[in-house]
């Protein structure tokens, strides 16, 4: 079929006398675009086409078709394109009489290769341009000028010349060409060239064809900017003004396209004089400007004519029928608002009016402009604006509301009345759209912080509403009350809060809403910090000006600030405008707001730590009471008391690493004491002696807890360390006391190690060792000497109860907790990691380490089943030093992937217990000492990679 078709077509083409039939050409095309056509066929088609291209007998249409086919061929078979290129290049087409054909072949050339390859002679191009009688040929030439690799100077000449063409499309094409050329800086050296081009474009602003006019605006804008760039000092501003005014004259064009283009261009001109900008937002010629001009250069009449040409330019844009134009006008107005305070003030009213626009896009753009102004601190809202401004908080469109709230976060209100209105508006927003709650809270927080005084006022006014209404029932489920609480808690953070007191109980109310509030403020502050702040404020009875609370949340502000700064897409440099004899007031553009809040977090934390320590020690004191219960055989009551302690501890929250260390220690201690209490019941009172297995389990657990207590905390004072060691010794003694398990030499070994350690500690200081230690020491000696341990030990242990009394223990030093967090990002049972059975698999881990020093030997354990655990050593030196908090990503290899469709790995981080005895574990390269685990095991899901 293919060959048959080809044959017919080629016959038809080769017949030199008759032009090829359209049908034949169409069949050829079908062959060309069919991807299944064999290469040999394609080659013969190419050959024939190339051949027939050379024939001079062809008519215009034939050439046209052949060129079209070649272009198609080149685009479908890209590997042939260079060959086709050559054939077109070498054909005599470019030099034929018919410029139509020449232009067409050039277009084909340009269409399928880049400019380097098909460079044609400048001279040829020029002559073609001049010879082209048909407008379409000229159009083709101009449009492809750049792609044909013509020299820039030549192109410029041609483009500039053809702006005089009688055909509007040719004029437009040459303007477009000029626009493309403005990036070529070699032309730019000669200012008169730029000027010439600019002036020509200005002339074309009056063209009858709207497409030409809009192209001319683009050229005026771009080349005008080049002119501006070339000027210095006052000339620069004068030039800038001139370009601006020139474009302003186009905003009343009847064509939408032209108007949009004009406003887009207005936004690109920076540095326009204030008086001109002011005039663009007033349709009347401003009297002040007339006065200013009176000692100026031009006559009053001349000035009025000039001013009326750009008077109200922006107003017209904002009033336009087409939302595209209004949007563009809003956008370019935004660029200029931040330069001058007066202009900002006046255009603010216009922008506020735009919030009533019927098109959502325009409203949004206006809000963006307001946000831009707020970011640069030139948004001075007045009462007249409030109706519209607050209206956008109630808009039915989510996007509008959230953008409006973004502005409220930054806005600075001059008086209480406006503040009250704004709060009211936000509350209405909350009322009507409850899903906005989080964002509204965060806005309230920001507003309260920047207007502390006002916020305090409002809170005072509504305190009745916040207070518990019926029998202590807080109306806290009401979003409104919650909103007021957010406002209340934000007020003390404000700098301009002069002695306004927020009642401390409000903070405790706020604690009850912690989840809701911290969720809303998540971008500002984390929950722990917030809680610490709240609990501190609520606790300090003498809360007032003397409480230093504003030091909280400093890091936050930087984050927020940085983010908003980044939002502003083009940071505007502060331009100093010196126009003639008057100096324009330029507002400082960079805003360093909220910087004052960046005070040290340390003081606050110190306070907070003190608070936590106090509470912890209170709890610890109660542990001793509980122990007395144990000794008086009331184990259950003791356990209950310990549980209470635990619960109480959970109520405390910490914000700093140090306080959390103390709390973690206390928790661990409580757990240890619980185990002791239970074991005591077995071992000393022998109440449930029959449950040996249970006791063994309890001992194991106790061992582990004690080991953690010993190794996972650093920064113990000597007393504290001794106390921990004492507890371990006690545990050993208890173990020994149980006949069934006491013979274990390991326990003995351990006990002696502990005792020697205690002795070493005691050598340095002079702390009286407790009875139990003395006893233990004696026991060890006796057992070792007698070698008949069992009987002796039995005797000894029976007196244990008499010997051991729990000391009053209190935590006074800053204990730090060695801790780790581990996460496998994006992994759960639904999204397992993929592995190939038998090959190692990489497991990406996000690891956070707290208080780990380089002496600690950390191991990553990966457990597939009880028997097979793989260890990976985490070399902290390689992973880059140690800080209090260290966060990194680690890719752990797991080698022994099983032959299974899927399996789970249990991953954890363990730390070698440095002071324990070495004993080689059965794994090669594994840890040599026992591990304390810093993290609960994390399950990682893996799944076999499936084929196909």
């Amino acid at each position: 079929m293919e060959h048959h078709l080809l044959h017919i077509c080629l016959q038809s083409l080769k017949d030199n006398n008759n032009p090829p039939s359209l049908q034949a050409l169409a069949s050829l095309r079908s062959l060309i675009i069919n991807p299944n056509t064999s290469d040999s066929t394609i080659y013969s088609i190419l050959e024939t086409l190339t051949h027939s291209l050379q024939l001079s007998t062809n008519s215009l249409t034939t050439h046209h078709h052949i060129l079209k086919l070649l272009t198609d061929l080149a685009s479908h078979r890209t590997h042939l394109s260079s060959q086709i290129l050559n054939s077109i290049h070498s054909s005599s087409l470019l030099f034929t009489e018919s410029t139509q054909i020449a232009a067409e072949s050039l277009t084909s050339l340009a269409s399928f290769s880049n400019s380097d390859q098909n460079k044609i002679d400048d001279q040829l191009f020029m002559s073609l341009c001049f010879a082209a009688t048909s407008a379409s040929a000229r159009l083709r030439l101009l449009r492809n000028g750049e792609r044909l690799g013509i020299g820039t100077h030549m192109l410029f000449t041609v483009f500039l010349g053809f702006t005089k063409d009688p055909y509007p499309y040719v004029r437009k094409a040459s303007l477009d060409g000029l626009l493309g050329l403005c990036k070529s800086y070699d032309l730019f050296e000669d200012i008169s060239v730029t000027e010439g081009c600019y002036c020509r474009a200005v002339e074309l602003l009056q063209d009858n064809e709207h497409s030409v006019r809009s192209a001319a605006i683009r050229v005026v804008c771009e080349w005008g900017q080049m002119l501006i760039a070339a000027k210095e000092g006052n000339d620069k501003i004068a030039q800038s003004n001139q370009v601006f005014v020139q474009i302003c004259s186009m905003v009343r064009d009847m064509s939408v396209e032209v108007r949009v283009e004009a406003f887009n261009a207005l936004g690109k001109i920076k540095l326009v004089s204030e008086d001109i900008l002011l005039q663009t937002i007033s349709k009347k010629v401003l009297a002040i400007l007339k006065e200013k001009n009176s000692h100026g250069q031009c006559t009053a009449e001349r000035f009025e004519i000039l001013a009326s040409s750009y008077a109200g330019a922006f107003m017209h844009g904002l009033e336009d029928e087409f939302h595209e134009v209004r949007k563009s006008a809003c956008n370019s107005l935004r660029i200029h608002t931040i330069l001058y305070a007066e202009f900002a003030r006046r255009s603010l009213s216009l922008l506020m009016d735009m919030l009533n626009d019927e098109s959502m896009a325009v409203r949004l753009e206006a809000l963006e402009a307001l946000h831009h102004m707020a970011t640069f601190d030139c948004l001075n809202v007045q009462e007249i604006h409030m109706h519209m401004f607050l209206g956008s908080l109630l808009d039915s469109c989510d996007l509008i509301r959230s953008t409006a709230r973004k502005i409220f976060k930054l806005v600075k209100l001059p008086d209480l009345k406006l503040f009250r209105l704004s709060i009211h508006g936000l509350l209405q927003n909350l009322e009507r759209y409850s899903k906005d709650e989080a964002d509204v809270f965060s806005v309230l927080f920001f507003m309260g912080r920047s207007h502390g005084n006002f916020a305090a006022h409002i809170v005072k006014e509504v305190s009745q509403e916040i207070e518990p209404v019926l029998e202590g029932q807080l109306g806290l489920d009401s979003a409104r009350v919650a909103a007021f609480l957010v406002l209340a808690i934000s007020a003390p953070l404000s700098q301009n809060q002069n002695g306004q007191i927020i009642p401390p109980r409000l903070f405790s109310y706020a604690v009850t809403l912690l989840g809701r509030i911290s969720c809303a403020l998540s971008e500002v502050v984390d929950q722990d910090t917030l809680l610490a702040y709240l609990s501190q404020c609520s606790r300090s009875s003498t809360l007032g000006a003397e409480v230093e609370v504003e030091s909280l949340l400093p890091a936050v502000d930087d984050v927020v600030l940085n983010r908003t700064k980044k939002d502003v897409n083009n940071p505007v440099e502060v331009p100093m405008l010196q126009t003639g004899n008057e100096t324009s007031k330029v507002q400082p553009v960079t805003s360093c707001e909220l910087e004052y809040l960046a005070t040290s977090i340390v003081e606050c934390q110190a306070d907070e730590l003190g608070e936590v320590m106090k509470s912890v020690n209170l709890i610890l004191a109660r542990v001793r009471d509980a122990w007395l219960l144990v000794q008086s055989r009331c184990t259950n009551a003791a356990l209950r008391a310990l549980r209470d302690c635990k619960r109480e501890l959970a109520m405390l929250t910490s914000t700093s690493l140090e306080s959390s260390g103390a709390m973690a220690f206390t928790l661990q201690y409580l757990q240890v004491m619980k185990l002791f209490a239970k074991i005591w019941e077995h071992a000393v009172w022998k109440i449930r002696s029959n449950e040996t297995g249970g006791l063994e389990y309890l001992f194991g657990k106790l061992d582990m807890r004690l080991r953690e207590l010993r190794y996972r905390y650093i920064g113990f004072s000597k007393e504290e360390e001794l106390y921990v060691l004492e507890l371990i010794a006690l545990a050993c003694l208890l173990r020994l006391s149980k006949v069934e398990i006491s013979c274990s030499p390991t326990t003995m070994k351990k006990l002696s190690a502990i005792i020697s350690h205690i002795e070493i500690l005691n050598d340095k200081g002079s702390i009286e060792p407790s009875n139990i230690l003395m006893d233990a020491k004696k026991t060890v000696h006796e057992i070792e000497s007698s070698k008949a341990g069992i009987s002796c030990s039995l005797f000894l242990i029976t007196n244990l109860d008499d010997f051991f009394t729990l000391k009053q223990f209190s935590l006074c030093s800053r204990v730090r907790h060695i801790n780790a967090e581990l996460n496998v990002p994006g992994n759960d049972s639904e999204n397992p990691l993929r592995f190939v059975s038998g090959l190692p698999v990489a497991i990406p881990l996000d690891i956070t380490l707290y208080n780990v020093s380089s002496e600690n030997r950390l191991w990553l354990t990966m457990r597939m089943s009880e028997e097979s655990t793989q260890f990976v050593f985490l070399d902290l030196n390689i992973l880059g030093g140690c800080n209090e908090v260290k966060k990194f990503t680690f890719v752990a290899p797991f080698y022994r992937t099983p032959k299974a469709c899927s399996f789970s790995l249990w991953i954890s981080i363990g730390m070698e217990c440095a002071l324990e005895d070495c004993h080689i574990l059965n794994h090669c390269g594994g840890p040599r000492r026992d591990l304390v685990y810093l993290f609960q095991e994390k399950e990682v899901h893996l799944c076999l990679v499936r084929r196909g």
Binding site: G161, K164, D253, K283, E301, S359, S396, R432
Partner: protein, 653 residues
């Protein structure tokens, strides 16, 4: 030929718009309005001025009505049915639909309320409307062989149009009333850039420059919102067409956005019917409404319900649109009586109220009591809000339109004289366009463009098709050095395409005019082309030839060549960047040629006796007029040269 403009109405006044324009022999009447202020003969334009014999069918080619307001269409039934005009009448589709409603309404008011003798009957109106030919926007309609008209969107009211009329090469635009800023339901006037001899524009607000209407909208919405939020009722008395729809769209949109649930009511009557027309005639409304039409007809108001009389005293807030606009009677007065005594309620008033109406009383001061008649007194305790939206363009809009169209003449109608005078001044001084303010019954004559048809020769057409641009340097910055250095065309400032200028117009008696190319002209005249060449033989000093002797005889060929080469070297050094060609026998720069002159008495030589003390060689130069400047430069350079060495010549002269 001239354009003749006879103003029958709205000359230096507002009311009864009617202008009869004669262009190239065609007579068009634009608008046929009545004056609402008069009851006598002054109510209608004086049609007798058109034709003494009252044969209007022959004296007028067509009547064009711009929109349905009575001051633009009011006299039409009278003119057609009573005066007997039977020619074509053009108006847009909406105008054709709405004009009879307005006319009928007016007729009823006249006859039923005022008890006047009727000027025309319902039958007259319907018969008149049968003669109307509807036209669409931007549709070009050929009235007859010569006259074509086209309608452009004018804003103002539904269906309002500006009309373009063209006879032969003379063209004009009559605007009617128009609005250059869009409102909530109508767009802004829109027209193409046309070549016009005359623009006739309204000038209702000839001196006002209106600020953004957004502020007024904002105040209106705020007042209404606050009133209904406080539980009050809002009464908005409006005219049935236009304002009611605009305000309703505004409110409906606001209600939608703010999610308000307070009901908005339309009182029954014309308003409902008018809304129906708006719903049908969507293509004549603003862009926004046209865009949203695909999903929802903006005139299907979401929050609007029909009002029932029983609702007047229903509790709770509401908004009510009621006719007539000035609370002159009817339903709006009825509701006003009920609602005015309560402080919570709000009455909004239109921008303009006729004296004597309740609306007017409310506007002037803040009365606490309004006496309707001797039995009825109304306590006014409600709030009053005044609206001032106007569908007319302001002076800036008029200026902008005139600037955009750039006609050759402007005539102002439909305005107050003192204001029109000041606008006229501005048009003449700022736009430099002659401007006229004819009074009623005045005629203005304006010269119109005349075109002569000419044959063009093929060569001329070809030359027109080919690009032929040149770059020119602005003369004031011209200085000789720059010209020489910047012969590459890119550095020149202005572009000039002279292809049309190069034609030659030939008008011979008894023959049609022809435009020919310059080459054709030579053929026609059987003449040869003459080029002007300048010649000058200049002397240069030559030292080193002395040694070669041979001073008196002719220089040998090799000497000539070496001289030229020396000169070439010097010139190339001196004029770097200029393309100097050495063609053996002579050097060439552009059209400037220089060769060694061996003649003793060269006709171009001015100093015929060379200074004997220094050896001299003569160079014969020739150039064409175009390169005069360049030639002078080179010659003066040559004369300064000393070809023997590079030292400047010590000129003894």
């Amino acid at each position: 030929m001239a354009i003749e403009c006879l103003v029958l109405g709205a000359g230096q006044e507002v009311g009864k718009s009617c202008v009869v324009v004669t262009i190239n022999g065609k007579r068009i009447m634009f608008d046929c309005g009545m004056h609402m202020g008069y009851d006598d003969h002054r109510r209608y334009p004086d049609f007798s001025l058109i034709s003494k014999s009252r044969d209007f069918d022959h004296s007028l080619d067509c009547v064009i009505i711009t929109h349905f307001h009575l001051d633009h269409v009011g006299a039409l039934p009278y003119f057609t049915e009573v005066c007997g005009y039977n020619g074509p009448i053009y108006m847009t589709y909406p105008t054709k639909a709405l004009a009879p409603l307005m006319l009928e309404d007016f007729r009823k008011v006249l006859v039923d309320r005022r008890g006047e003798e009727e000027q025309f009957t319902s039958l007259h109106i319907s018969q008149c409307m049968q003669k109307v030919i509807a036209i669409d926007l931007k549709q070009t309609l050929q009235v007859d062989d010569d006259l074509q008209i086209r309608a452009y969107y004018a804003g103002h009211v539904l269906g309002a149009a500006m009309f373009y009329a063209k006879v032969g090469e003379s063209a004009m635009v009559y605007t009617g009333d128009y609005n250059m800023t869009p409102d909530r339901h109508l767009g802004a006037a829109q027209i193409d850039r046309l070549e016009l001899d005359l623009l006739i524009t309204e000038s209702t607000y000839a001196t006002t420059i209106r600020d953004s209407k957004y502020a007024r909208e904002r105040e209106f919405l705020k007042a209404v919102h606050e009133c209904v939020a406080g539980g009050g009722k809002v009464l908005i008395p409006t005219f049935a067409l236009g304002r009611a729809q605009e305000l309703c769209i505004l409110l409906d949109d606001y209600w939608e956005r703010m999610n308000l649930k307070v009901p908005i009511y339309f009182s029954a009557g014309l308003t409902i019917q008018a809304n129906m027309y708006y719903k049908i005639l969507i293509s004549w409304t603003s862009q926004k409404i046209k865009e949203t039409y695909a999903t929802r007809n903006a005139f299907d108001f979401k929050h609007v319900h029909n009002f029932d009389r029983s609702l007047i005293n229903a509790p709770g807030p509401c908004v009510l649109f009621a006719t007539p606009g000035m609370i002159s009677g009817g339903f709006s007065l009825e509701v006003f009586k009920q609602w005015a005594p309560c402080e919570m309620n709000l009455i909004t008033l239109p921008g303009y109220c006729v004296a004597g109406t309740v609306g007017h009383k409310l506007m002037s001061g803040k009365p606490t009591k309004i006496v309707l008649d001797k039995d009825t007194q109304i306590d006014v305790r409600c709030q009053i809000h005044q609206l001032s939206f106007s569908p007319h363009t302001d002076s800036k809009g008029i200026m902008d339109l005139a600037r955009f169209l750039s006609p050759k003449n402007v005539i102002l109608v439909h305005g107050e004289k003192p204001k029109m005078v000041s606008l006229k001044e501005r048009i003449q001084s700022e736009l430099r366009i002659p401007c006229y303010l004819p009074a009623n019954c005045d005629t203005v004559h304006i010269p119109s463009t005349t075109y002569v048809k000419a044959h063009a020769s093929n060569a001329f057409i070809r030359s027109c098709l080919n690009p032929n641009f040149r770059f020119l340097k602005r003369s004031k910055e011209e200085n000789s050095d720059q010209v020489l250095r910047n012969t590459n065309s890119t550095a020149l400032l202005q572009v000039n395409d002279e292809r049309v200028a190069e034609g030659i117009l030939i008008m011979e008696k008894g023959k049609k005019a022809r435009v020919v190319h310059q080459d054709d002209l030579l053929l026609m005249l059987r003449q040869k082309k003459h080029d002007i060449q300048f010649g000058y033989c200049c002397a240069a000093q030559l030292d080193n030839l002395e040694e070669t002797g041979n001073r008196d005889g002719a220089l040998s060929h090799s000497d000539k060549c070496s001289c030229l080469q020396l000169l070439f070297k010097e010139l190339s050094n001196y004029f770097s960047g200029v393309n100097i060609q050495d063609l053996g026998e002579h050097l060439q720069v552009e059209s400037f040629q220089v060769s060694v002159c061996l003649k003793d008495n060269c006709p171009y030589r001015i100093i015929d006796s060379p200074r004997k003390e220094a050896p001299t060689i003569f160079f014969c130069c020739s150039w064409s007029a175009a390169d005069e400047k360049l030639a002078r430069e080179i010659i003066s350079a040559i004369e300064r040269f000393n070809l023997s060495d590079n030292l400047p010549c010590k000129n003894s002269k």
